[in-house]
Structure formats: structure tokens, C-alpha cells
């Protein structure tokens, strides 16, 4: 999208499927978005590897990932809710790393671009919640799910009544490395998407090895979806789904889930 290629035939069917999600989000007009994503050696190197990190800054500049910063707007933060989340989560026994300054990369901005298009300014402030998936092992799916539940409790206890969306990103099946690069597993991805509503707890028991074997070594990024899922109610309903192969080297999946009763 940043390169203006969405109307070319290769990309058209992928991006067409994002339209309904954009309309849904625009209509919802959230006050803030929590975006669960992974940094790709942009803000963090191997020097310090936070497993779970929350960004509490006013603004997050766009990272240079090795070819200059992407031409997308700077991301505005939501320090009041972000600090509340940081405090609540830590006291709730999730030992978050807190970032007062950090750039954000495509892991965060591509999901924004997909769901908001190419505005001059992003339509809502964002709280980056960054998960390590670059150094093995990432946190387990079950741990991610519990963090999501703690996020829901923290949002509910915030002094202001805000409309909050949470993005789970990463995956779906893909492998970017080794002789096995290019692995895609539509069956696995479809079962994963189905499980998001049918039995999300069962999905949290998928081991890292199973992700890597079935969905490719970088498919393990899917653990981040469980944070989003844990933050929603047990009976959250699927509103929309779009699945497409290939987006370059990966399978792309998007799903909208909504709590039945907004609590």
C-alpha cells in the first residue's frame, strides 16, 4: 500500500477483501486502539529483548527498517490509558516492559493501513503492545490469552469510558527462511480462524513447534492473536473474515470479532 500498488491485479483481490473491515471500523469510530504486534528488528535489536512491552509515549515515529521510514503518518499514542494499562497489568502479575520512546515498524503500521487506508493522520490514537517473536521462545499462546484477559480487566477499570478496539496481528502461515521458505497451510489457518469463535481455549494449547511445523517458522507469530482473543468476551462473535494467499510470501488473514454485549 505504501508503494501504491493496491490496484494492480496481483494485489487487488487481497485489498478488496479489506474494504468491509474499513467500513466497519470507520463506523465504530474507536477512541483508541491497542495494537498487539511484533517489532522486526526496528525499535529493538537483540541487545534487549522484551517479551511483552507497552508503549506509553505521546507519539511513535516511523522506524527506518533498512530502506528509509515508510511514508505513513506518525502514530499518536494514548499515554493516559497506556500508563493505566501498564500499572494495572504489572499489579495483575504481568511483568510488562514500559517504553517511553520507540519507533514503530510495519508490524504496527501495515495493520493500520489495511484498516484505515492512507489518511494524512491516523483516525485514532494507538497503544503499541509489542511481543517478542524474533528470539525463540516467544511467550506461549496460553500466556498471551491470559494477558489479553488482564488487558480487558484493565480497560474496564479505566476512569474514562472509552471505545477500545484491540488488534491481534502476525502470521498467518508463512516461512521466510531456509530451504522450506514459502510454506503456506490454508487448512491450519482456516481451522485457527474457526477456532477463534468455536474454541479459543483449545487454540491456546497449540505448541510453538506445532505452529512452526504446520504454519511455517514465522507462523509462530500467531501467538499474538491470543492476546486479542483473551481481551474479548468468551462469546465474542465473528463479524467478518477475509483470507487470501499469497501476499508475497505469506497467507493473509483478517477477522473481525465483536463482543455480543459491549460491557
Amino acid at each position: 500500500m505504501d508503494r501504491g500498488v493496491t490496484a494492480t491485479p496481483y494485489w487487488e483481490s487481497l485489498f478488496k477483501g479489506y474494504e468491509p473491515a474499513r467500513q466497519w471500523l470507520a463506523k465504530l469510530a474507536p477512541d483508541v486502539a491497542i495494537i498487539v504486534y511484533n517489532d522486526h528488528a526496528s525499535a529493538f535489536s537483540l541487545q534487549i529483548i522484551p517479551t511483552f512491552l507497552i508503549g506509553v509515549a505521546d507519539r511513535f515515529p516511523i522506524a527506518d527498517e533498512g530502506f528509509g521510514p515508510r511514508p505513513v503518518p506518525v502514530v499518536q499514542g494514548h499515554p493516559a490509558l497506556a500508563w493505566h494499562l501498564a500499572e494495572s497489568l504489572i499489579l495483575d502479575e504481568f511483568d510488562m516492559t514500559i517504553a517511553n520512546e520507540m519507533p514503530v515498524d510495519h508490524g504496527l503500521t501495515v495493520p493500520l493501513s489495511i484498516t484505515c487506508g492512507q489518511p494524512q493522520q491516523w483516525p485514532f490514537p494507538v497503544i503499541p503492545l509489542c511481543v517478542n517473536v524474533v528470539q525463540y521462545p516467544p511467550p506461549t499462546g496460553a500466556r498471551c490469552f491470559k494477558l489479553g484477559q488482564a488487558i480487558a480487566r484493565a480497560v474496564a477499570s479505566f476512569e474514562q469510558d472509552l471505545r477500545v478496539v484491540i488488534y491481534g496481528t502476525g502470521g498467518m502461515s508463512h516461512q521466510l527462511q531456509g530451504e522450506r521458505a514459502g510454506l503456506i497451510n490454508r487448512e491450519f489457518d482456516t481451522a485457527f480462524l474457526d477456532g477463534m469463535t468455536q474454541d479459543p481455549l483449545a487454540l491456546t494449547r497449540i505448541t510453538h513447534t506445532e505452529y512452526m511445523r504446520e504454519a511455517g517458522s514465522e507462523g509462530v507469530e500467531m501467538v499474538m492473536w491470543h492476546i486479542m482473543r483473551g481481551a474479548l468476551n468468551a462469546d465474542a462473535a465473528e463479524i467478518y473474515r477475509h483470507y487470501h494467499v499469497p501476499a508475497s510470501n505469506t497467507a493473509a488473514g483478517l477477522m473481525i470479532l465483536e463482543n455480543r454485549r459491549i460491557s
Binding site: 537483540l46 533498512g66 530502506f67 521466510l176 522450506r180 514459502g182 510454506l183 512452526m212
Partner: protein, 135 residues
Amino acid sequence: MTEARDYETIPGTYVYDARRGRQGYALNMFCMSLNVAENRRKFKENEAAYLEQFALTEEQRRTVLKRDWLGMLKVGGNIYYTIKIAFCDGLTFQDVASMMSGVSKEQYAKMMLAGGRSAEGNRYKDETGSGNTRG
């Protein structure tokens, strides 16, 4: 509690675990330095001299200078990092993925368009008769 390293049975896959983390730190930190435009310029100007700043092994140096993408993984490279060298060269992920998997760029692109590499026959090393070995 450490999870069993049963991922080592996956073919053609180099999981960046603790062992590779120890082996590849300097190599990946060199790659990280390429996030800075000025460093990219210096690297392109004189690659061998630029690499002197980092404590790479001879084999790591060789894989970088020869752009041996698969070799880099075998000596501790992490794909999230080594891809930065490719970006510096103006290559795409698909270019590098095709070279790592030993097919032409066209063949690789065709495979992806047809739905990607199937998991069938690619889950275990003993299914493929090939795959990586540690070391």
C-alpha cells in the same frame, strides 16, 4: 521448564533459539546497524572494512560478503536481521526466499501464486530426505 527441542525435526528451518542466539549475536547486530542510512552508505562503500567493526567469525564474514543467505542462517543469522542486507542490496523477500530454497525467482513466485509450499511432505526431515542439520 524448557520445551523439548522437537522443532529440530522440521526440515529446512533454522529456529533462532538460545544456541543460535549465542552464535549469531554479532552477525545480527551488524545487520541491525543497517537500519541507519549513513551505515548503509558506509557498508556499500567498503563492505569488508565496514565488517571489521563487528566480531564476526571468518565463516560469518564469508557468508555476508558472498550473500550466502542460507549459509548465514547456518552460522547464527536471524532472518528478521539478515534480510536487512538484502534490503540494502535492493532485493525483496521473494528474491532471498527463492535463493534460500534453491529455485529461480520465477519458479518461487509461481509456487506462491499456486498457494505456496505445501505442508504435505514438509513437516519432518525424514519425509523430505533432506533438510538442515545443526552445526
